[in-house]
């Protein structure tokens, strides 16, 4: 266990990125194994390579953190992946599925061990999985790789090739692909950028097999010989690589003289490489096994990690500058009107001030963009969890994902993970029927659970649906009466009945199982949605299935807000919480606690009362109509009177810091012009704190 919290945070953060990549790649491997096309096979080879490097990096990271058991486990997994790369293990859909499980198992070990939560049985389970894979290992049919010899690689050069590179050359020979050597020279200071571009282009053509050094390129230059295999015609290859100004040679699978001469210089190469400057030598060093090890210890990502709070601070500053730049523009306009400067100067001043304003807005938006992450990790983990649960419960379930690339604020993605897991657990445990019952009701034995995400306006809609037994409304009604949520003679519509499942203490499950019903109900899920300024809906049909729909804002920071005034202060409300704006007649407002809206009677309250600031009744309109908005809280409505509507605008919501969670009904604050600050209200929280029953 890592005691140092800062270190733990750093470790988990790095691991998270690696695990994210690992699980996504293993998913992709599973998706590609059914496809026998050459392109898919090439993708699988690249994916397995990347998975191998990721596991290697994870192993290194665990070693650095002294998590020896996990390092050993990662090492064993890495060995099996290496066998897979070398063709000692064959990859079929079953193997791909097991690899996915092993990936998820390693993920659990990595994060669990750091927190001191990994149990012995977790390690045992993981090793059993690996043992299952290892049992399928077969001996290689060929004692020694023949490809490099056939292609005319010298003995010294063959010594430089890794086992994996030899194996790939053989595989490409078997696939009857053409081999090429592209010799290029690069200035030492452009190696990193140019080499990356070249290898990316070659990977588009086919498979990059190895990179060897090439000599005689002149002082200050480093030469490379990139060996690759492709199915493309020579003219196409020529056209694709001519941009690199290199020398392209075709290597024939025979002791071809030219190829032999080109590749028969290893001893001279080594001598020259040893005498080359250190940095150039390190770039030019042949990729033997040791070099592969070093390469794979390099970080997989070129990005840098930044604490969310730092982005938040920068966003705050950018917003401040944006507000100031608007003032500057207004000042510039006034100056232009009153000054005697030339028309050209006036034009310039106007242009510059507008550009500054636009640029600051752009910075502000880009900073918000930096906080956005995809739902991929959450969805992938949820799918793993669902698959695991289904197996534990002996149920056959297919989990389908869509919309994984939907981008949301990092904080929202983190916050929706638990609600998604909760609903998924319920779906698998209670929603999905056992296979025999499904067959009896004419359904396929394998149930389908779908996890989807899409953007609607400023909100993301995440839906979790199953084709299980659906919610039994009679049972819901019975349970609601039992816990006193409704009276026995109360008549409810279908949607009202369904919403009863969000009442605290509500559960129709007969018994608390190991999977669901752990005391945390859907009321907690709904509360979390409210905290995020979102909502939850449920649709269900008995015997057909259930769908939960979570709607959350895509960003906590920038929202469309409606500004209202109450007392001396202004307040901002997420427009998603406002259903309608209205002006009420004074006689409808005075002394009333309810108001007719559409077909129902809904509660009516002054905003000041919800805020607990005063209980002085509704704002006085001096005989005029009183502004009021119809707010939405969990599908219910409330009319709230205010003193004035000030209009809608996009705002940056700022956090109230560590104390923020102590203020019920407040989601944050926003800077307004003139140095004012307005609270961003959470209507559901305010209603709850006031004790109004909707």
């Amino acid at each position: 266990m890592i005691e140092d919290k800062a270190l733990l945070g750093e470790y988990l953060s790095e691991c998270e990125e690696l695990l994210d990549s690992l699980l996504a790649d293993l998913d992709a491997v599973a998706g590609q194994t059914h496809d026998a096309k050459a392109a898919a096979q090439k993708t699988v080879v690249n994916l397995i390579n990347r998975v191998f490097r990721t596991v290697h990096s994870l192993k290194g990271l665990c070693g650095m953190m002294d998590l020896i058991d996990v390092r050993t486990s990662a090492h064993e997994f890495e060995d099996l992946l290496d066998d897979l790369r070398l063709g000692k293990l064959s990859l079929d859909p079953e193997m791909a599925r097991t690899l996915k499980e092993a990936g998820a198992g390693l993920a659990a070990l990595v994060s669990g061990a750091a927190r001191g939560l990994a149990a012995d049985e977790d390690f045992v389970k993981f090793h059993e999985l690996l043992a299952g894979i290892a049992a399928r290992r077969r001996a290689r049919t060929r004692a020694e790789a023949e490809g490099p010899r056939l292609l005319g690689f010298s003995r010294e050069e063959r010594k430089l090739l890794t086992e994996y590179e030899e194996h790939r050359i053989d595989m490409n020979l078997e696939a009857d692909r053409s081999f090429y050597a592209l010799t290029v020279k690069l200035r030492a200071d452009e190696i990193d950028s140019r080499y990356r571009v070249m290898t990316a282009a070659i990977e588009d053509l086919g498979e990059l097999l190895t990179t060897l050094p090439a000599l005689g390129q002149g002082k200050g230059f480093v030469g490379f010989k990139i060996i690759f295999a492709t199915q493309l015609k020579q003219t196409e290859v020529k056209r694709a690589v001519e941009q690199f100004n290199g020398k392209l040679e075709r290597l024939q699978p025979s002791p071809w003289r030219l190829a032999g001469r080109a590749l028969k210089t290893v001893s001279r190469i080594q001598k020259k490489a040893e005498s080359a400057p250190e940095d150039a030598a390190s770039k030019a060093e042949p990729r033997g096994t040791a070099q592969l090890e070093e390469d794979s210890l390099h970080p997989l990502l070129t990005s840098v990690r930044v604490e969310l709070s730092q982005i938040e601070e920068l966003s705050g500053l950018a917003h401040q500058l944006s507000v100031e730049s608007k003032r500057f523009s207004a000042m510039a306009d006034r100056l232009i009107e009153n000054s005697a400067c030339t028309v050209a100067d006036q034009f310039d001043l106007k242009q510059v001030s507008r550009r500054i304003e636009r640029d600051f807005l752009d910075i502000e938006e880009r900073l918000i963009g930096l906080r956005m992450v995809s739902l991929a990790q959450t969805f992938t983990r949820a799918a793993h969890l669902a698959g695991k649960l289904a197996r534990e419960l002996g149920k056959a379930v297919s989990v389908e994902l869509s919309g994984r690339s939907t981008l949301l604020d990092k904080m929202i993605v983190d916050a929706v993970a638990d609600p998604i897991h909760h609903i998924l657990r319920n779906a698998i445990d209670h929603g999905v029927e056992p296979a025999n019952l499904r067959r009896l009701s004419g359904k396929p034995a394998r149930a389908k659970v779908q996890l989807e995400a899409r953007i609607e306006g400023t909100n993301a809609i995440i839906s979790i649906s199953d084709d299980g037994r659906g919610i039994d409304l009679n049972e819901v009604y019975r349970r609601a009466v039992e816990i006193g949520a409704i009276s026995p003679d109360q008549t409810l519509g279908e949607q009202e009945m369904l919403r009863l499942i969000f009442r605290p203490g509500f559960s129709t499950a007969g018994a608390v199982s190991a999977v669901s019903g752990r005391g945390v109900g859907l009321d907690a899920v709904e509360r979390k949605m409210h905290e995020l300024g979102g909502r939850i809906k449920v649709f269900s049909e008995k015997g057909k299935g259930t769908r939960f729909e979570l709607s959350v804002p895509t960003t906590l920071q920038m929202i469309s807000a409606f500004i209202v005034r109450s007392g001396d202060c202004r307040y901002a409300l997420n427009v998603g919480q406002i259903v309608e704006l209205s002006y009420l007649e004074p006689h409808h407002v005075n002394g009333s606690r309810k108001i007719q809206w559409q077909d129902s009677l809904i509660p009516l309250a002054p905003l000041a009362e919800l805020l607990g600031i005063e209980a002085g009744g509704h704002p006085k309109g001096n005989g005029q109509r009183v502004p009021a908005f119809i707010g939405s809280v969990s599908e219910k409505r409330i009319a709230v009177t205010v003193e004035k509507f000030e209009g809608q605008r996009e705002i940056i919501v700022k956090s109230l810091g560590a104390l923020g969670r102590r203020f019920a009904g407040v989601a944050g604050a926003v800077d307004l012009e003139g140095g004012d600050v307005a609270l961003v209200l959470d209507l559901a929280g305010l209603v709850e704190a006031t004790g109004i029953t909707l």
Partner: protein, 165 residues
């Protein structure tokens, strides 16, 4: 002593000391520096190391049903600051504070002050434990210093985050 407008606050370490203490700085060996400030008739002190600066208090937006001691939030240097008013301790009306002492850390706290009295430097042994008899203050402070023959409670800033919870 002067304080700057929001957004142009200064570092307390650079303030020349007043009130009869000459050159008492946080970095002077063996001395601990405190900002002594007044809220109504009561004086308080806070360790200079726990502060980020003093600014003129901008407009405060009141919070709904705030916990005791908290009056609202203000925007200081683009950061939302939770404003504490310590006058509730002696049941006097909320301070009409013109200064806000910004507390260092992630909690985003500012202490309203009617006046900044001085910056004092003391040897650690001059800081005394607060008697349990001063129970109302124990929620905020665990020690005090003596200034003008009066006990001045030293605010324990970590207790601010749990005040009234």
């Amino acid at each position: 002593m002067t304080a700057e407008k929001p957004g142009r606050g200064f570092r307390l370490g650079l303030i020349p000391s007043t009130g009869g203490h000459s050159g008492l700085r946080d970095d002077k060996p063996g001395l601990v520096s405190f900002v002594v400030f007044g809220v109504g008739s009561q004086s308080f002190a806070v360790d200079v190391n726990n502060t980020e600066g003093v600014v003129d208090c901008p407009g405060v937006a009141p919070l709904p049903r705030p916990p005791a001691g908290i009056v609202g939030v203000a925007s200081v240097r683009g950061r939302i600051t939770v404003v504490f008013d310590l006058s509730f301790q002696d049941r006097k009306p909320a301070a009409q504070g013109s200064r806000l002492i910004l507390i260092r850390g992630d909690a985003q706290i500012g202490l309203l002050a009617d006046r900044i009295d001085s910056i004092v430097g003391l040897k650690p042994d001059k800081v005394k434990r607060l008697s349990k008899k001063r129970a109302p203050l124990n929620e905020l402070a665990d020690s005090y210093l003596i200034q003008h023959r009066r006990q001045v409670p030293i605010i324990a800033v970590d207790r601010l985050t749990t005040l009234g919870a």
